[in-house]
């Protein structure tokens, strides 16, 4: 079979299974089994599938996901999150779409420092989404910003993906970590601007309501009681990682634990609340992890069949102007990003891109940073993006996957706009790292 036949068979198979309503995890599993049957010689390859299922999730690197989910669930079910947002409303109730902006900011800081996109979506989704809905935010204004906030995780340093990219490409890790700062912040600002503009132009998206006039003394008091402690937990998680007290895995577990203690101090801790929080966190973690068991195998099969390499080679062999080639290479990454997991994309494309980058004399830091922005999108580009699936898992049943896809689109477009700007004005990327020498 040719690579494009594999591609067609894989994607149409997956598409049909998803359309008839088979849960995503099982659709991946079935396609993987059929693929393995043909590629790895009959049923003997099934042994390997079972192992691939196990090794895709039996790693401590993924532990932050269930931990952040638990932390978010406790914050929501105990009422900590609601109190926090009430206080915030008393201060900045007049800002259009403030909760959406809050999602972006918290997501940027939290995801950024922990580097776990899905964790950030999970924590904000379980703590912030219900509050936004209560305040009658439109679907697009609740889902979109939370998705976008999660995607910032890999863009603001520290970013494991940036390190993988740099070490595979053999260029400076420090420089790429510095280089993604400006585009990362720029993207956060562009997201926030978009939200505020949309909400000002169409107030129905995030209804402003009469916030009761609260005297300053009370505002300050409630800030100390209800806002500062939970915010400190998030700050604590971040500082623990930043100062090297704990690995990201450890910091996430500490964060969940300290949140329990805080709920206890507030007197919210009771059997029913804990049971509800643990149940929703367990269920959400399971639905995310079980998808990972299938999607990892799917990426591997596409690589095994040579599909990923073939697509990349196909685009890079076309005789076109260098700038067109650059855009083509980014399109390949974007296309792969719709279906595959980020690290696999880096592993396959970088060795093929690298000689071209060198031959054309491009600055690899520039190219790498644009690619990072592109990869960042992969978690929220339909049809397959893990953040999209996490969101589907958290959101109430009336939110369809279509709603989620739609909500992601404006943020994807903003992302593409920024990529275009980075291609047109390389100094956006290179300004900061070039000052390092």
């Amino acid at each position: 079979m040719e690579w494009w036949q594999f591609l067609l068979a894989f994607f149409s198979g997956l598409g049909i299974l998803l359309i008839i309503g088979l849960p995503v995890a099982f659709a991946f599993l079935l396609v993987n089994m059929v693929g393995v049957y043909f590629l790895w010689g009959g049923t003997s390859g099934f042994n390997q599938i079972v192992m691939s299922i196990e090794s895709s999730i039996s790693t401590f690197v993924l532990v932050p996901i269930p931990m952040f989910v638990l932390m978010g669930a406790i914050m929501f079910h105990s009422g900590i999150a609601r109190k926090m947002i009430d206080v915030l409303d008393h201060w900045i109730g007049f800002v259009a779409g403030r909760l959406a902006v809050l999602a972006i900011t918290t997501g940027a800081v939290l995801g950024a420092l922990t580097g776990v996109a899905m964790g950030s979506v999970a924590i904000l989704g379980s703590a912030l989404l219900p509050e936004m809905r209560e305040r009658a935010y439109a679907k697009s204004m609740t889902l979109g910003p939370i998705l976008a906030s999660g995607s910032l995780a890999i863009l603001i340093p520290p970013s494991t993906l940036a390190i993988v990219l740099a070490s595979l490409g053999g260029f400076s890790v420090a420089k790429i970590l510095v280089a993604i700062v400006v585009p990362g912040l720029l993207l956060a600002v562009m997201y926030a601007t978009y939200i505020v503009l949309r909400c000002v132009l169409n107030p129905k998206l995030a209804p402003a309501y009469q916030v009761p006039q609260v005297p300053m003394s009370q505002r300050l008091k409630e800030t100390f009681i209800h806002l500062i402690p939970p915010v400190s937990i998030i700050v604590f998680v971040i500082l623990a990682i930043f100062y090297g007290v704990a690995t990201p895995t450890e910091a996430a577990a500490l964060g969940a634990f300290v949140t329990c203690i805080l709920a206890g101090l507030y007197g919210y801790l009771n059997w029913k609340m804990m049971r509800t929080s643990i149940a929703s966190a367990t269920s959400l973690s399971i639905m995310v992890l079980i998808i990972l068991t299938g999607s990892a195998g799917f990426s591997q099969l596409l690589s095994f069949a040579g599909v990923t390499t073939a697509i990349t080679n196909f685009a890079t062999d076309l005789p076109v102007h260098p700038i067109i080639l650059l855009i083509l290479m980014q399109l390949v990454v974007m296309f792969l990003g719709m279906f595959l997991e980020q690290t696999s994309i880096v592993l396959v494309t970088v060795p093929i891109f690298l000689p071209i980058i060198n031959a054309l004399g491009w600055d690899p830091i520039w190219f790498g940073t644009i690619m990072m922005l592109n990869l960042e999108m992969a978690t929220i580009t339909p049809p397959f993006g893990l953040s999209l699936f996490v969101m589907k898992g958290i959101a109430p049943p009336d939110v369809t996957i279509g709603d989620i896809y739609k909500a992601a689109v404006p943020f994807i477009l903003i992302n593409i706009l920024l990529m275009a700007l980075m291609i047109a004005f390389p100094q956006i990327v290179l300004g900061l790292p070039n000052m390092m020498n």
């Binding site: 309503g21 995890a25 895995t249 577990a253 973690s285 898992g393 369809t400």
Partner: protein, 171 residues
Amino acid sequence: MQLLEKFFTWIVNFFAVLAGLLLVAIMLATVFKVGLRGVAGRGIIGIDQLSGTAMVYMTFLGGVWVLRHNAHVTVDLVLSGARTAVRRNLIVLNSVVGAIICFVVSYYGFVAVQTSLARGIMVVQELEIPRAIGLFPIPVGALLLGIEFVRRALAAHRGAFDDEQEPKLEA
């Protein structure tokens, strides 16, 4: 039949509670490790590796409970817009497909566990533990998932399928 049904429900809930406890255990063990490092100046090796294995147990033992509450992520582009009759037939169809996959995975999962034990395969990371221990929940969980898919198919066929439930721990 009803007794069997009751027994299965009991199993589903039992494993759900176990999954929840594993989640809490991962948190506590990790906190304990960091605490010990702070106090005794030395953590314990193996917690990270065991957390990874615990995630496999949590996912596969709790997976059936998530399915029962219809909480697995689905691309509901067509399903959400379909008429009741079409919807019901689609649920029967996808449940049958789901059941087949799960039974196949379960069978080959047990084979994989057996092969792994026979070959004496170990996972060598922080600790050295038999690979079979990590693989074991996969066939068990897949078997339960398969049975649940069959129940779903039957319920949808009878027209008694309710797909708007919230996952709750019922023990």
